[in-house]
Amino acid sequence: MRLVVAFALVAVVATVTTGALTFRAARTDLLQQGQDTVITQFRDGIDSLAPGFEFPPEQSDLQDFATEVAHTQRTANWRVLVTYGEMSATSRPNDLFAELSPAMRESVRTRAATVFQRVATGHGPALVVGIPVRFANTTLVSPSEPSGIAVYLTVPLDSEQGYVDALVAAVERATVPALVVAVLLALLAARGVLRPVRALRRATRRIAEGHLETRLAVHGSDELADLSHTFNDTAAALEESVAELRRMEARARRFAADVSHELRTPLAAMAAVTDVLDEDAAHLDPDTATAVRLISEETVKLARLVDDLMEISRFDAGAADLHLDEVDLAESVRRSLASRGWQGTISTRLPPPDAVRGRVDPRRLDVIVANLAGNALRHGGLPVELAMSVEEQPGAASRAVIEVMDSGPGIPDDVMPHVFDRFYKSDTSRTRTEGSGLGLSITAENVHLHGGTITAANRPHGGAVFTVALPLRRDA
């Protein structure tokens, strides 16, 4: 838009300036020419009449002179004033010659040269000319002496004004179409510039939206075409790098999934026999028994870690499916705790049966509850409390809010931002008794898969609180 305005302004200014300059030059020329003509005629008139002039003049002589000078140009509407000392005569009776300024009289008298002045009168502009009459006889001191007679002339510049008006009209008539054409041309030029610029803007926006395959069509070889070329090269380079990154990421993901998968088979064999080891450890010598128990314990941990890794790699690969089923959420939470023998350890504030029903993936909900509760028992301190409530939202699905609160030391400030990170362990909790280090990330992934939110915070009176909000979809 700014560009269009600028282009149009430039066109207007150029056109108008050209018109104005043309007009001024023409007007000056015209007026100059008219003036020169008048002055020449006037001087010629005086020169032709002056020799037959009585000197010193009587009033009647002055009168005759004025009339005759005026008559040299009958058509031109001349008004003549002749002065000699205190006497004066005008070609028209009782003409006050108001246009004649005292300054002009003074300069005619003193400078002994032709003086003229353009003045504005009530009837338009007029030219006032003053000529001092000199003696032509050469017996007197040369150059000729001023005779003391001054002849003044007033001519209305009507015709010149007419010319000027005509000129203005002509300039206007020429300028307006020129102006229109110039503006149109400017707009066209602006469009020529703007179209590529707009295309560039659109393309940039598309790139930003992730359509890295966007390219500009390049026409011609001007700067804009160069810019488009550069844009295309940049986009291609960007697309290439992103594709490379994605390939690397996919490789890394596949690798993690493959590794977990490959680990599973040996672990399956080991996990199958841990019970045998545990049973027989009692009958072995102490060292061997310790070694056997270690192997058994660590095998179970490793199996859980690999399980969690598989789960995470499924989330990463976008292969995690939601199997929604309408359940009673409070009942579901109660079962999750009961099946792990926690109903005595964790106090609950749950809604009555059938008060909160919604479509969730029961297996994933179980993972969410078990991980948060287990986390509170491991890292927090008793008492641990689990509360569930329903949060009604105007204009949106209501949400089930599950809070798990512990009474431990809380989450340190430096850990808080990383609490859902994978394998993130703060220095204070580097104990190996905790889970795989993936529990909270898996929990968060499960919540997000439901379209819910999960947050961690510290309670004002100590202890941490994890809050999960799950949208309560209903069977239609």
């Binding site: 088979t265 064999a269 996990a271 026999v273 045998v276 499916d321 297996r363």
Partner: protein, 238 residues
């Protein structure tokens, strides 16, 4: 001593699981391929089959379908992938239950015993007639046989137990969770896919055209019920 056939291609897993299950008091025969498994099925006549889904050559799914074609022996799938789709496909191919590897021997043992319990013992309230008819479906609770229009319908243990449970209280709605606990004895909850897959297989065997259940109704958001013979057939809600 329950006779158990283990079909598992990985030697270490095969040996480990066999060893552990023998210690748990099972009579174990272990083979490495599906083809060998089909062979041993006839000669060994196991009470239960533990089947790895990821087999070279003939896949676990194929083995499952081949066994089910003429044999109602309980099948427990062991899946290493943990891919949800595998489990569903496996269950629909006729497996009664599944475990995800790696699995501890005592967990597998518990599942095996649970699936074996499904084979025996009457289900339902006492004092019910031993044989009952629901339209052209007759159920013999003592002999544990089911016939449709007089023709015996072979049912796998889970299917039979599910049908006995539902038909014992016609009109009563059972939640998936209740069915899971009663039929599969799963103490953990949430795997309603077992129930859904089993209901699907049962409907097929009872000759119900898809989308028009005659005996087992889906009650949306709650679970399943056995239709009273007096109830009008409802259009399927799924």
């Amino acid at each position: 001593m329950p006779r158990l056939l283990l079909i598992e291609d990985d030697r270490a897993v095969r040996e480990g699981v066999s060893l552990a299950l023998r210690r748990q008091g099972h009579d174990v025969a272990a083979v490495a391929t599906g083809e060998d498994g089909m062979e041993r099925l006839r000669s060994f006549r196991p009470d239960v089959v533990v089947l790895d889904l990821m087999l070279p050559g003939m896949t676990g799914l194929d083995v499952c379908r081949r066994i089910r074609a003429d044999n109602q022996v309980p099948i427990i799938m062991a899946t290493a992938r943990g891919d949800d789709i595998d489990i569903v496909v496996g269950l629909e191919a006729g497996a009664d239950d599944y475990v995800v590897k790696p699995v501890q021997a005592r967990v597998l043992d518990a599942r095996i015993r649970a699936v074996l319990r499904r084979v025996g013992g009457p289900v339902g309230a006492d004092g019910m007639p031993q044989t009952e008819t629901h339209g052209d479906l007759s159920i013999d609770r003592a002999g544990l046989t089911v016939a449709l229009e007089g023709v015996p319908v072979p049912l796998a243990p889970s299917e039979l137990r599910l049908l006995l449970l539902l038909s014992a209280s016609p009109g009563r709605v059972f939640s998936r969770q209740q069915l899971l606990e009663a039929v599969w004895e799963h103490s953990y909850h949430g795997d309603s896919r077992l129930v859904d897959a089993c209901v699907k297989r049962l409907r097929t065997k009872l000759g119900e055209p898809p989308g028009q259940p005659r005996f087992i109704q889906t009650v949306r958001g709650f679970g399943y019920q056995f239709r009273r013979s007096t109830d009008p057939a409802r259009p399927a809600s799924r």
